[in-house]
């Protein structure tokens, strides 16, 4: 178990190095620099040149890369050219938002998707099955941003049930401990703050959940259908076990194996959706920030964040594998 973790973490190093090289080559190809992003209409060639020189962007890419490595060695991610703040701070500021969003989204997807898929499979060809399957298919085909817009239009603007944007109400000045609005509320006992944060999360996370939900529904369904015909299920039946036992212990438990992997991968890929959802709901998370960073040629942020995302992605996969080894004795690492 531990050896697996260590090995994976070691594998991470070359991956990240490779990634950083690619990133720098890419950045080098990006036209324009941060200067004109900062100055807008007011930019003139001379100004731009001066700023770029100040930022050392006039130097060749390998020099910049070397500087970057040196900084990384000192655990310094550099400074955002957009906000002039340390990348790390920006990150601490925004990452929690995206995490909260993604977690809730995946939570919804699982909580709704698994039962739905399971019963769909049980009553194969029944109305539930048909609606679940077609529903999930449609779910995949709706552009996330459109869904987000509709949700906002209906539930925030027309019905006013949920707030239409942001992470917190202005009224509430919640004390921030961890940056995770919901968690903070609980920690500080400001439960109204937690609740407020949750209401802000619901619409975006639903929008974000649409695709994972659809995937999970169909995965679960397929997986259950497959397991139902397995020999050991027949054995269980032959033992005359109660339905509940057969389904719970023998069907569902095995059917969950592939779903777990899927959930992991989905969580990793949520960020794409987050870019759109966050910009529709002005939800100050990583997704939207990286987009701005690309527009503003905010190199340090791009490098820092993308590296970090890669890290997170790998860690998620690691977690999945560990979880997998826990529920499936066959792949247990001795």
């Amino acid at each position: 178990m531990l050896r697996l973790v260590v090995r994976r973490l070691l594998q991470l190093i070359p991956t990240l190095l490779g990634l950083s090289v690619l990133l720098f080559l890419w950045l080098d190809r990006l036209p324009g620099g941060p200067a004109s992003a900062i100055l807008g209409e007011k930019a003139t060639e001379a100004e731009v040149a001066r700023i770029n020189r100040a930022l050392g962007l006039d130097q060749p890419v390998y020099v910049q890369y070397w500087r970057f490595l040196k900084r990384i060695a000192e655990l310094d991610l550099g400074t955002s050219t957009q906000t002039g703040q340390p990348v790390w701070d920006e990150f601490v500021l925004r990452f929690p938002a995206t995490v909260e969003l993604s977690l809730l989204a995946i939570l919804i997807a699982v909580a709704v998707g698994v039962p739905l898929g399971y019963f769909a499979a049980r009553k194969r060809g029944g109305w539930l099955d048909v609606t679940a399957v077609s529903g999930s298919l449609v779910g995949i085909c709706i552009p996330v941003f459109f869904l987000a817009l509709i949700l906002k239009g209906v539930f925030a603007v027309e019905l006013g049930i949920f707030p239409s944007y942001g992470r917190q109400d202005t009224g509430i000045d919640a004390t921030s401990v961890t940056g995770f609005a919901v968690l903070d509320g609980v920690l500080t006992g400001e439960f109204d703050a937690s609740w407020d944060a949750i209401t802000h999360l619901i619409l975006p996370s639903i929008a974000l959940a649409s695709i994972p939900l659809a995937v999970i529904v169909r995965m679960t369904r397929a997986s259950v259908l497959e397991v139902q015909d397995e020999d050991y299920v027949r054995t269980a039946e032959a033992k005359g076990l109660k339905r509940s036992v057969v389904r719970g212990r023998h069907v569902l438990r095995n059917a969950m194996l592939p779903v777990v992997t899927a959930v992991g991968l989905l969580t990793g890929s949520l960020l794409s959706g987050a870019v759109l959802t966050e910009s529709v709901f002005a939800f100050g998370g990583i997704g939207s920030f990286i987009r701005q960073a690309i527009d503003a040629r905010d190199y340090p942020v791009l490098v820092g964040f993308i590296m970090f995302i890669a890290l997170v992605y790998v860690l998620i996969n690691l977690l999945v594998d560990l979880a997998y080894s826990l529920i499936d004795p066959r792949v247990r690492v001795h």
Binding site: T235, A238, G240, R253, I327
Partner: protein, 333 residues
């Protein structure tokens, strides 16, 4: 009166748009208390389907079961689902072919044994675990208490099959159905397993329906043998009688196709031509005709009936049975 009476059992797959195919086509046989009955035939002849039908393990959709099967005086097919459930595992148990795939990979062996005790013998916790250990010990699994905690993939093939048997006999069933219990195992283990089964049957007086394509197994174990072909019994007799005088050309062929030590040197084996796929529907005539050397027009006019051409209780379904062994040899040669 016998423990299990199967009468004109038919199982038809299909419907749902796909064309119907009849897997079991009017099988009839009986199993008495403590008797070991063999159901013999090449793969695809409907043995396994028959057993599943008897256990009530065939899917509800796309399958129709016909005929009667009376177990201990009650008709299995008219019985309520729940009643059937109670019957399964307690009075009627089954052992499957592939021990690995027949065990749940993610549940410890112990649980898979105890769950049946909990279900049918109302045992709980420690008691159940003790009994489970005892059962494993009984089927000859060394160090049972440790094994209980292990997962199927950690056991050897033989042990898995033993575990399955342990589950099957956990509630001392009246009747045990074994579907090719040994085919997935290597020879030495096969022998042990057969031994185990035999001994269980002797001790408990359990009836055993042995489903196999392996005549060796039959010879070793069965009192009564039913030879199945294309979903119908073509010959039914006591073990000795059958082995001495195989009368249906198919049975005859089967026996002819296994090497015999007592056969004269250099005599060639006589395999049966073709495969079970080239056959004709029983309705049109003898399904075996296409592969048979002895068929004539008679074979192709309607279903042949069971007769006792040779001895009482030795039923044969053939228009042109092999009565004179010598002649038979020469034909098959």
């Amino acid at each position: 009166m016998s423990l299990l009476t199967v009468d004109e059992l038919t199982v038809t797959f299909g419907g749902r748009g796909r064309k119907e195919s009849r897997a079991v086509d009017g099988v009839s046989f009986e199993v008495d208390q403590g008797q070991v009955v063999g159901l013999v035939g090449e793969s695809g002849c409907g043995k396994s389907v028959t057993s599943l039908a008897l256990m009530g393990l065939l899917p509800d959709k796309g399958v129709t079961v016909g005929g009667r099967a009376e177990f201990d005086g009650t008709d299995l097919f008219t019985m309520s689902r729940s009643a059937r459930r109670d019957l399964r595992g307690s009075k009627m148990a089954m052992i499957f072919q592939d021990p690995l795939s027949s065990l749940n990979p993610v549940v410890p062996v112990g649980v898979q044994v105890t769950e049946i005790l909990e279900r049918h013998r109302g045992m709980k916790g420690e008691a159940a675990r003790k009994e489970a250990a005892h059962l494993l010990d009984r089927v000859g699994i060394p160090d049972p208490t440790r094994r209980l905690k292990e997962y199927p993939h950690q056991l050897s093939g033989g042990m898995r099959q033993r575990a399955l048997i342990a589950m099957a006999v956990a509630c001392a069933p009246r009747m045990l159905i074994a579907d090719e219990p040994t085919t997935a195992l290597d020879v030495t283990i096969q022998a042990q397993i057969l031994e185990l089964l035999k001994e269980l049957v002797d001790q408990e007086g359990t009836a055993l329906l042995m489903i196999t394509h392996d005549l060796g197994v039959v010879a070793g174990l069965c009192d009564q043998v039913n030879v199945l072909y294309a979903g119908r019994v073509v010959e039914s007799a006591g073990r000795r009688e059958l082995f001495a005088h195989p009368t249906h050309p198919y049975a005859h062929g089967l026996l002819g196709s296994i090497p015999r030590l007592d056969a004269p040197r250099g005599e060639p084996l006589s395999p049966i031509r073709g495969s079970i796929n080239d056959r004709i529907a029983w309705a049109d005539g003898c399904a075996f005709a296409p592969r048979c050397d002895r068929y004539e027009m008679g074979c192709l006019t309607g279903t042949p009936q069971l007769t006792e051409p040779r001895a009482a209780g030795h039923q044969v379904r053939c228009v042109n049975p092999v009565l004179d062994d010598a002649k038979a040899e020469e034909v098959t040669a």
